[in-house]
């Protein structure tokens, strides 16, 4: 091979390949190395702006939520509380409420009643400590309220940027969409590090200290239910809800995904989700699917129920229904 007749190869000696090292070449090499290192240091200069304690050794060594001992978790939650106090001037109470036995949560929303006032989307922000630039910035809210044209359920022609002061419009109806807590959840399936999973009560949670921020779950979600912290959450001191849970509404770090947890900091404590409490028309029904006496059970059994994107096969625990 490689014997081009026009270009005979003459093997060179090693000395020809490496010209002997003399003072000049040595200096040249040294200068290049020094310049390279200096360039690298200069290039990495923005790292100096990293806040103190943003990444600690404890963070790097922390295990997955489900591998933590109760003691570890207590220590981690205490550290998070302290950090929040130092950074934001509020000391939250972070708990770790576990799923209750015999409970599987379900949510149903009455499309006949919903008027599209978006109070649920705002209540979600207040409850769950999402980032917001202005008080009316609801981009990070876990609920997107769609304004749909009457006559079809066509998401393609929906509008989320309608003016909530002008609702309800006569030719429109409204459909709030949030995490459907799917039984066959595409998001948990695709996560490469199992940072998101379904709990026993059906709620899909995220371990914010384990998520690597690849956003594959966001690509997988058919309901646009996940949000990503493109930056450190912007929250004023007075906007912070101090009643927090480790897997739910504690203030998220930068660079991780977050989502609706059916307000598990409330619902695992026997209360209703914030979006339900605020709804002025009583369009929302929440409860234990396994309890035959519950209102949600009644709705699913007796009303005309609609499952959004049923064809995708996600088997949601979130339902829409219509009054007759």
């Amino acid at each position: 091979m490689n014997n081009d007749p026009g270009q005979p190869q003459v093997p060179r000696t090693l000395e020809e390949v490496f010209r002997p090292q003399n003072r000049r070449t040595f200096l040249k090499g040294a200068a290049a190395t020094v310049a390279g290192m200096a360039g690298l240091v200069a290039a990495l200069k923005p790292l100096l702006a990293l806040e103190r304690g943003e990444i600690t050794l404890d963070d790097l060594l922390q295990r997955h939520y489900r591998q933590l001992t109760p003691g570890d978790l207590q220590r981690i939650m205490a550290a998070l509380e302290t950090k929040c106090q130092q950074e934001r001037g509020v000391r939250p109470t972070i708990r770790d409420l576990k799923p209750m036995d015999g409970v599987e949560f379900g949510y149903a929303l009455n499309l006949t009643r919903c008027i599209g006032c978006r109070r649920c989307a705002h209540a979600c922000l207040k409850e769950n400590n999402q980032s917001r630039e202005r008080p009316d910035d609801i981009e990070m809210s876990y609920i997107r309220v769609l304004e749909l044209n009457k006559g079809a359920i066509n998401l393609e022609t929906s509008n989320v940027y309608y003016d909530a002061a002008q609702v309800p419009q006569p030719d429109k109806y409204y459909m709030p969409v949030q995490c459907h807590q799917c039984r066959q959840s595409p998001c948990t399936k695709v996560c490469p590090v199992q940072a998101t999973w379904q709990e026993q009560d059906g709620i899909v949670v995220v371990d914010y200290n384990w998520c690597i921020g690849c956003r594959y779950c966001m690509a997988a979600c058919p309901y646009d239910a996940r949000r990503f912290n493109y930056k450190k959450p912007a929250l004023q001191k007075e906007q912070i809800n101090p009643n927090q849970d480790y897997l739910s509404n504690r203030i998220r770090p930068k660079g991780v995904v977050e989502k609706c947890t059916f307000c598990l900091q409330r619902t695992r404590d026997g209360r209703y989700p914030a979006c339900l409490e605020v709804c002025p028309t009583g369009a929302r029904v929440f409860g234990n699917l396994l309890d035959p006496e519950s209102e949600i059970h009644y709705v699913l059994k007796n009303k005309r129920v609609y499952v959004l994107k049923e064809e995708v096969g996600t088997l949601p625990r979130f339902y829409y229904f219509f009054d007759t």
Partner: protein, 414 residues
């Protein structure tokens, strides 16, 4: 062991021996890499807000480049198959460059995934035993395995052959032939698994499509060989290494066939989406024509289609038997496929969102600089590898230095 360390030491010294042109090229690439590092450091501190990505379009230029480059890496197989399966002697003079290119490009792929992470400091969560690996559930974990496996395979094959050549002995077949054949299947697998990343998402109908893996492979076998044709010409021009026209024209044939298949599959896709348009065609509609007054991707996709069509016309016509026109075709196809797989495949998957929102995406300046840095690093790695590999291949760097008047090299590369 000692001999191997000496080998590495000589490689290191060889890296610093070069012409002014070599120094200028390396210096330029190093500077661009540093610009990219700087942009990435800024992103690391400020978060991914420095990119153009949003909640709605949550993957952008990084994942687009990643997807494209996996294909370029897989295309090394288009040198391996003629060389080892069809035993074309003339392909053996270039096959190692394909493997070296695959190494550089896979490293670029891994970097593109890493810079896309919101928490690169938690990278180890993916690596057992420190992490929790969601295998076999997550296709991303499959991708991590196949990409790293492909990197190791190529490192082993290229490294082993070069070391044997340096020592002047014939490589032992059983130490590399099984790996060569494994790498053929592995190359197909890296691009298939990468396609499955998207195809597996039932909620995004633009991607949930059995044609995607085939199209990925077809377009990869255009872009990869296109880049190789250009690289081989540079190598034979600036280095003391002969590459004949035969491998280049073999690659031309491969490109032509692959591009024909790619364009045919595109036609099938267009027919399916537009003959009887359903709601599932919304993304395609946005991509090709725009929806609700948003046309961000329309110029991109039509430039891609024009470049690919022009490239294909050149490839099938006798004009591209002349190197100049062949090069034009390579450049057109390479850029065309790059757009088609990036702005033309990843971004429209997110537009409109599953709820019907249209949010457009354009990479930010900082994001572009990070991309530029990674591309430069890939070029830097490939240039460096070729720079040290060629003296080994042409016999000037040997374990036993021949005398100045010594005879021709004895051992040949298989």
């Amino acid at each position: 062991m000692k001999a191997y360390l000496l080998f590495l030491w000589r490689i290191w010294k060889l890296s610093w021996a070069g012409s002014t042109r070599y120094y200028a090229w390396i210096l330029l690439l190093t500077l661009l890499v540093l610009v990219g590092v700087n942009a990435w450091a800024r992103q690391f501190v400020e978060g991914l807000q420095t990119t153009g990505m949003t909640n709605q379009v949550s993957w952008g230029a990084y994942i687009a480049n990643f997807t494209f480059l996996v294909g370029v890496a897989a295309a090394a197989v288009m040198l391996v198959i003629p060389a080892y399966v069809y035993k074309k002697e003339y392909m053996h003079e270039v096959v190692i460059f394909g493997e070296l290119m695959a190494i550089a490009v896979i490293v670029m792929c891994l970097l593109f995934v890493t810079v896309d992470l919101g928490r690169p400091d938690r990278f180890h969560h993916m690596i057992p035993p420190f992490g929790v690996f969601n295998f076999p559930g997550s296709i991303l974990s499959w991708d991590v395995i196949v990409l790293n496996g492909y990197l190791l395979l190529n490192l082993h094959i290229a490294g082993y052959l070069l070391y044997c050549r340096y020592q002047g002995r014939k490589p032992t077949r059983r130490f590399y032939i099984p790996f060569v054949f494994l790498s053929i299947f592995w190359a197909v697998s890296i691009h298939t698994v990468t396609a499955f990343l998207y195809v597996g998402l039932a909620g995004r109908s633009f991607w949930h499509h059995p044609l995607v893996p085939s199209r990925f492979l077809a377009s990869a076998f255009v872009a990869g060989p296109g880049l190789m044709i250009l690289a081989f010409q540079v190598i034979r021009k600036v280095m003391r290494y002969h590459i004949g026209d035969a491998p280049i024209f073999t690659l031309r044939m491969i490109m032509t066939v692959a591009m024909l298949i790619n364009m045919f599959l595109l036609l099938c896709e267009l027919f399916t989406e537009f003959y009887y348009p359903t709601q599932h065609a919304a993304s395609a509609h946005y991509l090709f024509f725009g929806v609700h007054g948003h046309h961000g991707l329309v110029p991109w996709i039509w430039s891609a289609i024009s470049m690919n069509t022009l490239g294909l016309l050149l490839l099938v016509s006798p004009a591209s038997r002349r190197i100049l026109w062949l090069n034009v075709a390579c450049v057109l196809c390479f850029i065309g496929i790059w757009i088609e797989k990036g702005m033309g495949l990843i971004i429209p998957g997110f537009v409109p969102t599953p709820l019907g929102q249209v949010v457009e995406y354009l990479p930010s300046v900082n994001e572009t600089l990070v991309c530029l840095g990674i591309w430069s690093l890939g070029a830097l790695m490939f240039s460096w590898m070729v720079h040290v590999a060629v003296p080994i291949l042409n016999g000037s760097l040997r374990a036993q230095p021949p005398l100045s008047n010594a005879s021709q090299p004895t051992a040949t590369l298989p």
